[in-house]
C-alpha cells in the first residue's frame, strides 16, 4: 500500500513537472514569434506605402511592356497562402527581396547618370533601398531564430545602364512589380502570424 502511494505521488509529481515548462515557456515563445512577424509585416506595409507614393509621383502612368526579365516571377495564387510554412516562406521572401534590392541599386546608378531627366525622386529611392536593407536584415535574423535554411543568393543578369527613356520605363515596371511583391509578402506574413 505504501509503495502504491509512493508511486502515485511520484507519477503525479512527474506529470506536474512535465506540464510546467509547457505552461511557462510556450506562451512567451509564441508571443515572441507573433511579435517578430508583426514587426516584419509592419516593415512590408511601410515598403508598400513608400512604393505606392513613388508610383503616384512617377512621371508616366501608362501600360508598359515587360522589359525586366530578371525580376522574380511571382507565380503565387491566393489559395497558396493557406499552405505557407514559415521556414520555407522566409527564405523565399529574402531571395526575392535581394533580387529587387539589386535592381533598385541598378536603377539608382542609372538615375544618377540621368539626373538631368529628373524623372525620379532620388531621395525617396534612397529611402526605399535603405528600408529594403533593414527589412532584409530583419528577415535574416528571423530565419536564424526559426532555423530556416538559406537559399542561394540571387544573381540577376542586369542590363547595361539604360538610356533616359528606357530608365523611366524600367523604373515604372520595377516599382509596379515591387508593389506586387510587397503586397504578397504582407499577406504571407499576416497569414503566417495567424497560424501561430
Amino acid at each position: 500500500m505504501k509503495l502504491l502511494v509512493d508511486t502515485s505521488f511520484s507519477l503525479l509529481f512527474s506529470l506536474l513537472l512535465a506540464q510546467l515548462p509547457l505552461l511557462t515557456s510556450t506562451a512567451p515563445h509564441n508571443h515572441r514569434r507573433v511579435y517578430d512577424l508583426e514587426k516584419l509585416t509592419n516593415q512590408t506595409r511601410h515598403l508598400l506605402k513608400l512604393t505606392q507614393d513613388l508610383l503616384v509621383d512617377h512621371v508616366i502612368d501608362t501600360e508598359i511592356e515587360h522589359r525586366l526579365k530578371s525580376l522574380p516571377a511571382m507565380t503565387n495564387r491566393a489559395s497558396d497562402l493557406s499552405s505557407l510554412k514559415l521556414k520555407e516562406t522566409l527564405p523565399q521572401l529574402l531571395v526575392d527581396l535581394q533580387s529587387f534590392e539589386l535592381h533598385f541599386e541598378w536603377l539608382s546608378r542609372a538615375s544618377r547618370k540621368h539626373r538631368h531627366a529628373a524623372s525620379l525622386n532620388l531621395a525617396k529611392l534612397g529611402d526605399l533601398i535603405s528600408l529594403i536593407k533593414t527589412f532584409s536584415a530583419s528577415l535574416q535574423r528571423q530565419m536564424l531564430r526559426v532555423d530556416a535554411l538559406r537559399l542561394p543568393s540571387p544573381t540577376p543578369s542586369l542590363p547595361p545602364l539604360p538610356a533616359a527613356w528606357d530608365m523611366v520605363q524600367s523604373s515604372l515596371e520595377l516599382f509596379q512589380r515591387f508593389r506586387l511583391f510587397c503586397d504578397w509578402a504582407t499577406r504571407a506574413l499576416l497569414t503566417l502570424k495567424s497560424k501561430i
Partner: protein, 398 residues
C-alpha cells in the same frame, strides 16, 4: 478596353474544329432540308444544284414558291444571289424538268465575326469574371473560345458555362503577376476573330459592398450612433485579406456627408444631430490598396437615442419617434444579427476554455501542495520514530 488587338491566326485549328461542330449542330436544327449553306451578307452568293446533271437547266424554288428574289440570277444548274440581304434567307430547292426535287438547302446569311468588347470584374482574389459583347451582330450561330495567359506565357482556359455563352471565369489566377492577357475567339461558319485584352488584376479588384449595415442608437447618448456591418460574403475570410472601410453619414435632408475610416466592422459616430434621423452608408476596399473601393451600400436610416421627457405631450411625441416602423425593424434586425450570436458563442467558448485551463492549473497546484504536505508529514513521522528509538536506546542499560 485598352490594349485590344486582333490576332486571327491564333487558334485556327480550334476554330476549324468548332466550325465543324457548329455546322453539325446546324444540320440537326434543320428538319426540312438536307443541307445548310452560309453566305456573307452584302456579297454575291451562288447556290449549285448538286444533284443535277451538268448543263441541264433546273427550276429554283424559294420556300416552295417559284417567285425568287429580284436579284437572283439562275444559270443552268446554279443560282446567284446578288448583293444579299436578310430577306434572301430561306429554303432553296432545285427541281428537274419533270418537277422532281433534286436538291434542297437552307440559306443563312450573316457577317464574319468581329472583335468583341471584353470587360472583366473581380470581387475577390480567387476569381475573375470576364464577359463580352459582339461588336458586329453576325446573325449566325456563334461559339466563343476563351483563354488567358500571364507573363509566364502558360495559356490556361477561362472556364465557360454553357448557360452563359458570353462569360468565362478565371479561377485562382496568379494575382501577383504584372498583367494578364485574356483571349476571346469568336467563331462562326464564316470564320473566326480573336480579341486580346490586357488586364491588370491590381486595378480590377473591386470588393462587393459590405453587408448587414446596422446603425443603432446608444442608450443614454443622444449624439451617438453605433454602426455595425459585415465583410461581403464573397470576400475571403483569411487573415491575409484584410479590408478597410469608409462610413459616411448625414442628417436626413442634408446633402453634406461626414466621413469616417475604419479597419474594423463596428464604428461609433459621436457627433450626430440630436433627435434627427441620419442616413448611413459603408464601402470597402482591400486594406493593402489592391484594387478599388466597392460601391456604397444602400442607404440605411437610424435615429439616435432620445432622452425621455416628463411632459406628457413631449413623451407622446417621443413615443411617436420610437414607433417609426423602420426604426423598429432596425432594432429587431440588430437583435437577430448573426454576428452578435457568433460573438456570444465565441465569448462563451473563451470563457469555457479559460475555466478549463484554470481548473487544470488549480488541480495541479492542489496536487503539488498535497504531495508536499504528505511528504512533510512522513518526514515528521520518521523524525519522531528516530527520536523515540534514540530515547529508547538511551534508556537501555548498557
Amino acid at each position: 478596353m485598352p490594349g485590344k488587338a486582333s490576332c486571327p491566326g491564333g487558334l485556327i485549328v480550334i476554330g476549324v474544329i468548332t466550325l465543324c461542330a457548329v455546322r453539325i449542330n446546324s444540320e440537326i436544327w434543320s428538319n426540312e432540308v438536307s443541307d445548310i449553306e452560309y453566305g456573307k451578307l452584302g456579297s454575291n452568293v451562288t447556290l449549285v444544284c448538286k444533284a443535277s446533271l451538268s448543263g441541264y437547266p433546273v427550276d429554283w424554288r424559294l420556300n416552295g414558291s417559284a417567285v425568287l428574289p429580284r436579284q437572283a440570277l439562275p444559270s443552268n444548274s446554279s443560282l446567284t444571289l446578288i448583293d444579299t440581304d436578310l430577306s434572301m434567307e430561306g429554303n432553296y430547292s432545285c427541281l428537274d424538268e419533270g418537277g422532281n426535287l433534286l436538291w434542297a438547302t437552307k440559306l443563312r446569311l450573316g457577317h464574319m465575326p468581329g472583335l468583341v468588347s471584353v470587360s472583366c470584374r473581380m470581387s475577390n482574389h480567387h476569381r475573375v469574371l470576364c464577359s463580352w459583347e459582339q461588336s458586329v451582330k453576325t446573325h449566325l450561330p456563334t461559339k466563343y473560345i476563351a483563354s488567358y495567359r500571364d507573363r509566364s506565357n502558360a495559356v490556361e482556359p477561362c472556364h465557360q458555362d454553357s448557360f452563359r455563352p458570353n462569360e468565362c471565369s478565371i479561377l485562382h489566377p496568379t494575382v501577383w503577376h504584372h498583367y494578364h492577357i485574356v483571349n476571346v475567339t469568336e467563331v462562326n461558319p464564316l470564320g473566326s476573330e480573336t480579341t486580346l485584352v490586357r488586364v491588370q488584376l491590381r486595378d480590377l479588384l473591386k470588393p462587393d459592398p459590405p453587408e448587414a449595415v446596422t446603425p443603432e442608437p446608444v442608450v443614454g447618448q443622444p449624439r451617438r450612433l453605433l454602426v455595425r456591418w459585415r465583410y461581403p460574403s464573397s470576400w475571403p475570410k483569411d487573415e491575409g485579406f484584410p479590408l478597410r472601410f469608409q462610413l459616411r453619414y448625414r442628417p436626413q435632408g442634408s446633402i453634406n456627408w461626414s466621413l469616417l475610416n475604419s479597419t474594423g466592422t463596428v464604428l461609433q459616430i459621436t457627433d450626430v444631430l440630436v433627435a434627427h434621423r441620419h442616413v448611413v452608408q459603408v464601402q470597402a476596399m482591400d486594406d493593402l490598396k489592391f484594387g478599388q473601393w466597392s460601391d456604397w451600400t444602400p442607404e440605411v436610416e437610424a435615429l439616435p437615442w432620445i432622452e425621455p421627457k416628463t411632459d406628457p405631450e413631449l413623451s407622446r411625441q417621443s413615443e411617436e419617434f420610437t414607433a417609426f416602423p423602420d426604426y423598429a425593424e432596425l432594432e429587431s434586425s440588430t437583435a437577430k444579427s448573426p454576428d452578435i450570436e457568433v460573438d456570444k458563442y465565441r465569448s462563451l467558448g473563451v470563457l469555457i476554455s479559460l475555466g478549463l485551463i484554470a481548473g487544470i492549473v488549480l488541480s495541479m497546484l492542489s496536487a503539488l501542495i498535497i504531495f508536499l504536505w504528505v511528504r512533510h508529514r512522513r518526514r515528521d513521522e520518521v523524525t519522531k520514530q528516530e527520536l523515540t528509538s534514540m530515547v529508547k536506546m538511551k534508556s537501555l542499560p548498557i
